[in-house]
Each structure stands twice: as structure tokens, then as C-alpha cells.
Amino acid sequence: MKRWYECGSAEHALSRRQMLGTLAGTAAVGACGLSSLMQQTVAAEMKKQNRQVIFIWLDGGMSQFESWDPKPDSEFGGPFRSIPTSVPGVHISELMPHSAKLMHHLTVVRSMCTKDPNHSTGVARIQRGDPANRGVNYPYLGAAVTKLLGTPANGLPPYIWIKPGSGGFIYQEAGFLGAKYGALALGEGKPPIHIQRPDTISDADDAARNELRRLANARFRLDRRESEVDAYEQSYDMAMQLMKRKELFDNSRLPAKDIARYGTHPLGRHLLQARVLLEAGVQFIKVTSYHWDTHGDNFNMSQQLVPQVDQPFAALIQDLADRSMLDNVLVVLMSEFGRTPTINSRLGRDHWPDAWSLALAGAGIRRGNIVGQTTKNGAFVDGEGYDVGHLFHTIFSALGINSKKIEYKNNGQPLPIARDDCEPIKLALA
């Protein structure tokens, strides 16, 4: 039975084809001597299917003044200096020396201008692309991308979320797409606890118990249409997939040099783990770091926090470049908003959606590039500001997804995959 939450788009139908099928098609095209246009279409499709995303989320809001958009000479600038980068004329905060050296790989958007000043609504709103209210729960970016790109046939969970704290299968991220598009969360970067099958359970016993589980699920779902059964099965399938890839979580295999380059702090460990998973082929990885909401003691905190992302972020960019993966992997580094120009009574900065920065790199993204600018004192966007809708169009475009044409179909209702009143940020795209 076709589930109501499944996408009916032609785009998705195409992307669900297995890679082998596409390869066979390519061979057939060559043999039949069809037009080069067709070959290009197939090549573009193949390229799209290889696309991966790493989405780095600094929860709470990193200060743009202490990172990508320093204004040391303005009344709102903090005490830290700006330093030159590998792109002539571009300066960022002295708290990001590693990223400064790799600016030639990055696009920094300094003119984000969003609406929501609150975490409680802002995080979900941003990660869902701030969709217009159409009476449905839009999927988070990771679920959207895995849906729209189609699940690669590499036997790995398509959407993995590395986060502090506990893990599990976070089906809520899938929204109306249905629970099976949820995120497999690896708490503290660790695999699900049952990935190590006890030695006392033989292969035969394991196969038998899984068959029993499938039968029970099939019976349970006979009269049901909810996606939770799918989610349950999906999470089991993911666990089984990961049981075959235990080496991905064997940190003893990681070179000591890499561990030192990324850092042994949580975000360093998690971004190195993410690199390993990207190399293995995981399609979308979200890495979250909490506690960036520096209302108090912003400058002492920024001095400790910003380097925690700078070092492993730069290591990741360098590694992706060294491995020729930057053409296929899209890197997004952002928060739900920036921080206020004004400095409060606790020498902190509050929430500031009016003008903030994020960084993009890799697949489909222009390199060595600054998009937009803020006013001389950094308080507001000077020129055109970009909302989350623009960002989602940009991300989809960078991944080869035509966000102006492709739609979700939710129970027969066509829904735009990104706000239809926004466009891609063309200056950010390659």
C-alpha cells in the first residue's frame, strides 16, 4: 500500500533508482548512441545522487561579531581583533585563525536577516526552512534532503545526527514525510547501544528473531496507516546496517594526528566522526553543539567557544578538500540567529535575527566568497537580506534539486520544498 506521506514527485521517483540501475542506463545510452543531452541528464542525476551534506548546528546562536563579521572599530564590536584570511581583503575574527586560512574554500553569508528571535520556535523554524503555515509539519532539513535526493544504496542510514546527550531514532524530524525519514541520533557520537550483538546469539538465531519481528510488524500494520511502524522498522534496519559497519565507530582506527587536528572536545570528536561517516557515504549528517547562547559573559565565553568550532571545522574542510570530496559534500555551519550588537548588563549579547552570518562550503557553492554586508557598525544588513527560505533554496540548488519546480505531495496536496516567495542566493552558488 502506498503511504499518504510518500512523495509523489517525478524527481523522487527518479532518485529512488538504485545506482546500478543508473549505471546500466548510462551504458545503454552509450550503446544506442542517444543524444549527448540525455547523457548529461544522466550524469547530472548521478552527480546528484552522490551529493552529501554536513550540517553543523551551533545551538543558541554564535556571535557574528566574534566570528564571521567582526567590527572591531565600531561601537558594537567586541574587544577582539579581525584578522586577514586566505582571500585578500576578507577579514574574520581573530578567534577563527584556522578558518581564516581556508577562506578560499568558503562562502560566508553576512546578510542573513530572519524573523524569529526565540530559540523555542526559532530552531524548528530555521531547520524546517521557515515554511508558510499550510497546516502541516514540514520536515527538518536532513529529512527533506534524504527524501529529495533519494536514499543511496550503500546500506547506511541516510540521516545521522551526532549530538551531545542521548541518541535514538528521532522520527519527529521527518514531519509530514513520515517517521521513516527521521534522524538516527548518535548520542555523544556513539552507535546505538545494541550494535554489538552478543556472542551468544548466532547468525541463525539473529535471522530468526528478525523474521519474527517482521511478521509481527506486518500483522500490526494491516489495519494501520501511520508511519510509526515504518519508523520502527526503519530504526531496526538502520541498526542492522550499522552492525555490519562497526568499524565506523572504532575510534582506535583513527590516526592520532587526526584526533589532535580536530580536538578531543565534543565538537572536535563529533566532526571527526562525521568525516568518517561522510567517507563511508552517509548522505546527511547533522552535528549539533549546545550552549552557544551567550547572554552572559559573552566575550570570555566566545574566547572559549569559537575556537571549539574553528579548529575542527577547518580540519574538516581541509580533509574534504584533500580527499576531493568538496565537490560532492555540501557543508553548512550556522545557528538559529546571531547575537545582539548591544552588550547587556552581564557583558553578554542577546538574540539577534536582524543581521547575522553563516558559512557554506563544498558542493555547488562558490569559493572564497563573501555574500552581503552589514552596516558599518554591524547592527543591520546593508542591502539585500536573506531569510531562511533563501537559504533552503540555496541548499537545494547546490545539491542539484530544482527547488522552484520540485514539490512535496502530502496526501495529494502539493507543497513547495522551500518558501515560494524566496529565491536561491545566487551569489553563493558556484
Binding site: 543558541g60 572591531p72 561601537e75 558594537f76 567586541g78 574587544p79 577582539f80 581583533r81 536577516c113 524573523k115 528571535p117 526565540n118 551531545p164 546527550g165 580536538g263 572536545h265 565534543p266 565538537l267 553543539s289 549546545y290 550552549h291 552557544w292 547562547d293 551567550t294 547572554h295 552572559g296 559573559d297 566575550f299 570570555n300 565565553m301 574566547q303 572559549q304 567557544l305 575556537p307 571549539q308 540567529f337 545582539t340 550588537p341 548591544t342 552588550i343 547587556n344 548588563s345 552581564r346 557583558l347 553578554g348 542577546d350 538574540h351 539577534w352 535575527p353 536582524d354 547592527a379 543591520f380
Partner: protein, 406 residues
């Protein structure tokens, strides 16, 4: 030009008291302490101190320049200051020198009585990263500086030449440091310095809540004092919170008070419990932990002992007023008196012992979370006011009621 007098609202807050020829204040009575004269500064100030002769007041902070008020003439002048925020400010107890430091580790010496004068000397990169604390030896010969690299450096006050170092400079970045007990030097950045009244030793306090007692002449570490209460790093934190933010010795040097923040609940808002630890200097043991009785979530940033043994402390609170508190540490941990005011980042006592001064936060209406696009034109920085806290009873200036004739 605004002057302290021009800002007067309360006729009892007569700054004339601070003039050499002015009327002398009444009897010290901290239980009657009250907010006195204030003067607004367009930008936030971090430090404010009286000169040792009591004739000048200097303040500095986010606007990078040094503000000096000549109390006798009520004139204000400025000194060019620094290229970034000023982090510390201290007068030389001997002579007419003022030292200031900044967030890039630079120290400057000034002849503060001369308006717009250039620095007497500059020590560039004195503390490699941020210089957070300054102190001067009681004989006026050595300037002590402490900052992010965890070493206390002594400089000649004559020419800024390096004289001595206490501890070894840390090379690991601030965010990667780990506390280890019993180390010969600080494990983290230095936030506070104070010279003992005997002039022979000083104490330095760091981000991990460790206070180290050093002998000036020999450069030797004498002992550690445990102020770890003022530091928090919970399991889910991604940064160290707190540290020893200020010190004060009592007049005889028998007690040392260390101020800061305890029990921080997160490394984001950094809310916690303002706290003061009072040590017996002879034994090095903490005698008591002083508290506030009003809601306040930030560190105590300034402490001063008054001549009657009262300890005054002042700190920060998020988005609301806090208090300048007055304790009798030997009696009870709660203050016997408080003066309500906005957040303070420093505290100093006038040489006459009758007034405290503090740079207070002033909200300019642009605070809190955005979005403020609609109010673009009205979006302005926050400010400060220099506030005097008078340590005596208000004088009743109302004319006496005429006595009715029978």
C-alpha cells in the same frame, strides 16, 4: 562638558566633600550608605578608580579612551587610551602615574593629570593575550600584570622594563586548559591581583578559582588558597565559568576577600550565585562564604574593606538591578545593608574612606532580543554611569518647620 557636580540631583551628594578645601564628610556609617552622585558616559565602562591623593577619578572601558575627572575643578579630560577595550586600570600609590591595560595584552603608563597626553610608555604584548588585572607594589616601584597566559609579570614603573615573572606562561589555548591541583603556576588565565598591605607579597586569582600567594622579593610561590567555589564546569558545559574576579585585603592584612560567582547553571547565560570567600591570611583557610539576600545572578566584580571592618561588594545581574552589599564578615554571611543599583563591573574606595565609586550599567532601551528592524534609527549602544555610594547618612536638607507660637 558634564561634570560630577552638574549631574547632581541630591543636594546632599556634594562632591565638594572630595575637594581638599571642601567640607569633610560626617561619621562613617555603612548601614546608612546610599547612592550618591552619578555621571553618565556614552559607552559602557569597565573600571573606575580614585587616585591615591583623592583628587582624581579615572574610568575606562568599551570606548577605549581614559576618562579622568579632576575633582577639585570638576573638569574632565581624556587620555587617548588603547586600540581596544580597556580591561584594567590602576594608579601608582606613589607619584602621578596611571596604568591601563587592554584586551590585546598592552599596558600603558600615563601622567594622568595632563589632558590628552601621550603614554609615558607602552608595554606591547605584555601578557600575550588579554591583560585582565593590574596592581602596583606598595612602594610604587613595580607594576604587576596578569592575563590569559597565566603568569604574573612585574615591570619597572619607571620605564616599563620587565623586572620579574611569577610562574610560567601557559601555551595551551584558553579553551583547552585543564585544572590540576598543586601546580607551581596558574593553570588558567589570571583575573585578579592584589598586593598585601605589608608590601612583601601579593595574591593572584585565576579562571579556575585558585588564588596563589607570591613573595615579591624572591618570586617564590608561598601557597595556594582554595577559592574553587568560584568556578563551575558541569559535565555538559563546554566552557569554564566564573573564576576569581576580584580581591580585597583588610587594612591590617589579616583577611583576604575573593569575589566571583559560584554554582553556575550554564555556560551560556552563565547564571549563578554571587559569592565572596573570606580567608584568614595567616592560615590560608576560608572562614566564611558571604551571600546576597536579593536575586542576582552574576559575579561579584569589586570588593573593598572599609575602615570599620565592613566589606563592600558589588557585581552584575542580568537585565535587572542588583545591589552593592555591605557585610560584617565576622558576624553573619548575609549583608547588613544593601544599596540597590544596576550592575557594576568594579568598585573602589576613596582615600577619605567615605565613598565608593563604581561604573554601573545603563540600558539605553535597545537591549533584549531582536528583531529591531523597525527601530533601526533608534538602535543605540548601552551606556554607563559613574556612581558614588556615600558611606554616611543622608543629610536632611529640608528646612526646619517653624515653631508655632502659643
Amino acid at each position: 562638558m558634564p561634570t560630577l557636580l552638574a549631574a547632581a540631583k541630591d543636594p546632599t551628594d556634594v562632591l565638594d566633600d572630595l575637594k581638599p578645601a571642601g567640607p569633610k564628610a560626617t561619621v562613617l556609617d555603612p548601614a546608612k550608605a546610599h547612592l550618591g552622585k552619578t555621571i553618565k558616559n556614552e559607552r559602557q565602562l569597565i573600571r573606575a578608580r580614585f587616585s591615591p591623593d583623592g583628587l582624581h577619578l579615572a574610568a575606562a572601558g568599551l570606548d577605549k579612551i581614559i576618562h579622568v575627572w579632576e575633582l577639585e575643578t570638576e573638569k574632565k579630560h581624556t587620555l587617548p587610551g588603547h586600540v581596544t577595550w580597556v580591561s584594567a586600570l590602576v594608579f601608582n600609590p606613589k607619584g602621578k602615574q596611571l596604568f591601563t591595560a587592554d584586551f590585546q595584552g598592552n599596558i600603558r603608563a600615563w601622567d594622568y593629570v595632563k589632558p590628552d597626553s601621550q603614554p609615558l610608555f607602552t608595554i606591547t604584548g605584555a601578557d600575550r593575550q588579554i591583560t585582565r588585572a593590574l596592581a602596583v607594589s606598595n612602594d610604587g616601584a613595580l607594576l604587576l600584570s596578569g592575563g590569559d597566559d597565566g603568569v604574573v609579570r612585574a615591570w619597572s614603573t619607571k620605564d616599563g622594563k620587565p623586572a620579574k615573572e611569577f610562574g610560567t606562561a601557559l601555551t595551551t589555548p584558553v579553551w583547552q586548559r585543564v585544572f590540576k591541583a598543586g601546580e607551581a603556576g596558574h593553570c588558567g588565565g589570571i583575573y585578579a591581583l592584589a598586593v598585601h598591605p605589608d608590601g612583601k607579597s601579593f595574591v593572584s586569582g585565576d579562571q579556575f578559582g585558585v588564588a596563589k600567594h607570591w613573595e615579591i622579593a624572591s618570586g617564590k610561590l608561598v601557597r595556594d588558597l582554595d577559592a574553587r567555589l568560584l568556578y563551575t564546569r558541569k559535565e555538559d558545559f563546554i566552557a569554564d565559568v566564573g573564576g576569581v574576579r576580584c580581591f580585597a585585603f583588610d587594612a591590617k592584612g589579616e583577611r583576604l576577600a575573593a569575589g566571583g560567582l559560584s554554582k553556575a547553571e550554564s555556560n551560556a547565560f552563565c547564571p549563578g550565585t554571587p559569592a565572596v570567600l573570606v580567608f584568614d591570611w595567616t592560615t590560608g583557610k576560608a572562614l566564611t562564604e558571604l551571600k546576597l539576600t536579593v536575586k542576582s545572578d552574576g559575579p561579584i566584580n569589586g570588593l573593598r574593606y572599609l575602615s570599620d571592618g565592613t566589606l563592600a561588594g558589588f557585581g552584575e545581574h542580568q537585565s535587572a538591578a542588583t545591589v552593592c552589599a555591605f557585610w560584617k564578615p565576622a558576624d553573619k554571611p548575609e549583608p547588613f545593608h544593601t544599596v540597590s543599583a544596576q550592575s557594576a563591573t568594579d568598585l573602589d574606595l576613596h582615600p577619605d574612606g567615605q565613598r565608593l565609586v563604581s561604573p554601573l550599567f545603563v540600558a539605553n532601551g535597545s537591549g533584549g532580543n531582536g528583531a529591531r528592524e523597525k527601530f533601526k534609527d533608534k538602535y543605540v549602544q548601552n551606556a554607563s554611569q559613574i556612581a558614588l555610594i556615600n558611606l554616611f547618612a543622608k543629610v536632611d536638607t529640608k528646612p526646619a518647620k517653624p515653631v508655632k507660637k502659643a
